[in-house]
Amino acid sequence: MTSLVSARNVSKSFGALRAVDDVSFDIGKGRIMGLIGPNGAGKTTLLKAVLGLTDCQGSLSVLGLDPFRQRRELMQNICFIADVAVLPRWIKVSQLLDFLQSVHPNFSRDRAEELLAQTNIKKNSKVRELSKGMVTQLHLSIITAIDAKLLVLDEPTIGLDIIFRKEFYGNLLRDYFDEERTIIITTHQVEEIENLLTDVMFINDGRIVLDTTMEDLPEQYVELMVSPDNADKARQFNPFYERDVFGKQVMTFEGVSREQLQGLGDLRAPDIADLFVAKVKGEAA
């Protein structure tokens, strides 16, 4: 697996606050990495460091470049949507295409026009005249038309209704993604992207609390719904998190095989949202 993003002991402080605290990870080519964490966990700071928008300590390499010092070269092969509102409101769609065509070596105007033709967006509209959903469609069309190796999405669908959100991810997979391209994505609506992801990383208080592939996840983590009489038996396997669901205990285990827990209750792979809560709360306990 060739590493597209490689972080070693990356830290970033704002005064006394360590927003990113000694983080190391790798992201390979052709992966879709979900970066999950609560507000203020350091997700956005980490993404900014990856995008070269902020300086950081430690060693960080993106596409073999130092993102902060070689931002111009980097941006030829990276795209990002940081928030739906970032397209300038005064710009016309046609001006946006003109501009990108002249400054972005990897932008294909034909491709962008082709994608926009599938939407209701008119080329002489200004961004301020478009609905929020259309702005996101426009942004995604532009980005899909850029032959970028890495796409970073920071809460790309915030404030959109469910239809646009579904469509957004549908288009992302259909038009953008292939094995040559890599996506890093953060969102609060974890359920919506769960099926998309190939990798997942949890971040809390600036630290990585989990970094694994979706394939390995069911082997590493298992959730057991256990009746009260079997609870003590199950606790011998050291669940790192327990919660109460309709009078039954749900325990989350790490590194415990399913065979060992067999017969104690219902076994299943935890979904990401539950696993995240378990990880964050379990560590705090």
Binding site: F14, T45, K48, L51, L53, T54, D55, R71, R72, E73, L74, M75, Q76, I78, C79, F80, A82, D83, A85, V86, L87, P88, R89, W90, I91, K92, Q95, D98, F99, L100, S102, V103, H104, P105
Partner: protein, 306 residues
């Protein structure tokens, strides 16, 4: 690099429509004023006398009078251009933060240096060139308007105006003035860009405050006026027209108008470009502008929050 710069300059025109709108509005006002001025002027016989008087003037004196009309027409543009430049530079790095589009602009393979450079080029070159183009159009429009009027009163517009008017001389001198002005005032342009890059709110107030307060503080604490001198006196003493001292001869009562007109007919000949370019104050100003611009680039590059 050049293609990127052209695209960035186009962006400035899309984003800051005032760059075109302001001079066009001045042009419309001046043209309308020249039009309605003639229509509503009651004393037609006075104007007829004016035509007769003009016919009796030697050609160089007519040229001087026409040059005077052109300078009068140009001056509101120069004033408007400087006001526009102040507001443009104060807005140029502030607007993209206010509407949060800065993250989009920074997601494109364009460096902060290139972006700030495009703002500087807009203020220093694009705005003056646009202003000149619109001044030229206004000159032609107003002269054409006067020609029609002269023709209607039975005069000869070709003889009175077009054969005498020193168009090119006036335009070259105007171009020199329009380009020299932002160069001479470049420390302010740099300061405005820097304020525009860092301030969280009201760039105009933030920029104006030190310009007003520092001279006052200096006066109170040291009873000197070095800062006031540097801010205000220097600003209005641009050493571009070397012959400016002699210019007042033109306006002297009872002077030999024709002879003076002959001597000082050409505005270009009054220019002292060599003196301007070698003036150390110009270069000190440009260095100050460069430092502020570098600070603006630094702020845009290193600040995390918007």
């Amino acid at each position: 690099m050049i293609q990127t710069q052209i695209a960035l300059l186009r962006r400035e025109f899309w984003e800051h429509r005032a760059i075109l709108v302001v001079p066009v509005v001045v042009a419309v006002v001046m043209s309308l004023a020249s039009l309605t001025g003639q229509v509503s002027f009651d004393h037609k016989e006075l104007l007829d006398m004016g035509i007769v008087g003009a016919q009796n003037l030697p050609e160089n004196a007519r040229a001087l009078a026409l040059s005077g009309i052109m300078v009068t027409l140009s001056s509101p543009f120069v004033f408007a251009m400087w006001i526009l430049t102040i507001f443009y530079t104060l807005d140029s790095l502030y607007a993209e933060r206010k509407d949060r589009s800065i993250l989009f602009w920074r997601s494109i393979p364009v460096t902060d240096f290139e972006t700030v450079l495009s703002k500087l080029l807009t203020a220093m070159i694009a705005i003056p060139v646009i202003t000149l183009a619109i001044i030229i159009a206004t000159h032609l429009l107003v002269l054409l308007n006067i020609s029609i009027w002269i023709d209607l009163r039975g005069g000869s517009p070709w003889h009175l105006i077009w054969s005498a008017v020193p168009l090119v001389d006036n335009w070259v001198a105007t171009l020199a003035l329009l380009v020299a002005l932002p160069l001479w005032l470049s420390p302010f342009i740099g300061w405005f860009l820097f304020v525009s890059a860092f301030t969280k709110r009201s760039p105009l107030l933030t920029a104006a405050l030190p310009i007003v307060l520092l001279p006052m503080l200096e006066k109170m604490m040291f009873d000197s006026e070095v800062i006031a001198e540097a801010f205000f006196v220097r600003s209005v003493q641009m050493p571009l027209f070397a012959g400016l001292d002699n210019m007042e001869l033109l306006f002297q009562e009872g002077g030999d108008f024709a002879a003076l007109a002959d001597a000082k007919l050409s505005l270009v000949s009054l220019l002292d470009l060599g003196g301007f370019i070698t003036n150390p104050q110009l270069w000190i100003g440009l260095i100050v502008c460069g430092l502020f611009s570098a600070a603006a680039i630094y702020v845009r590059r290193y600040r995390d929050e918007i």
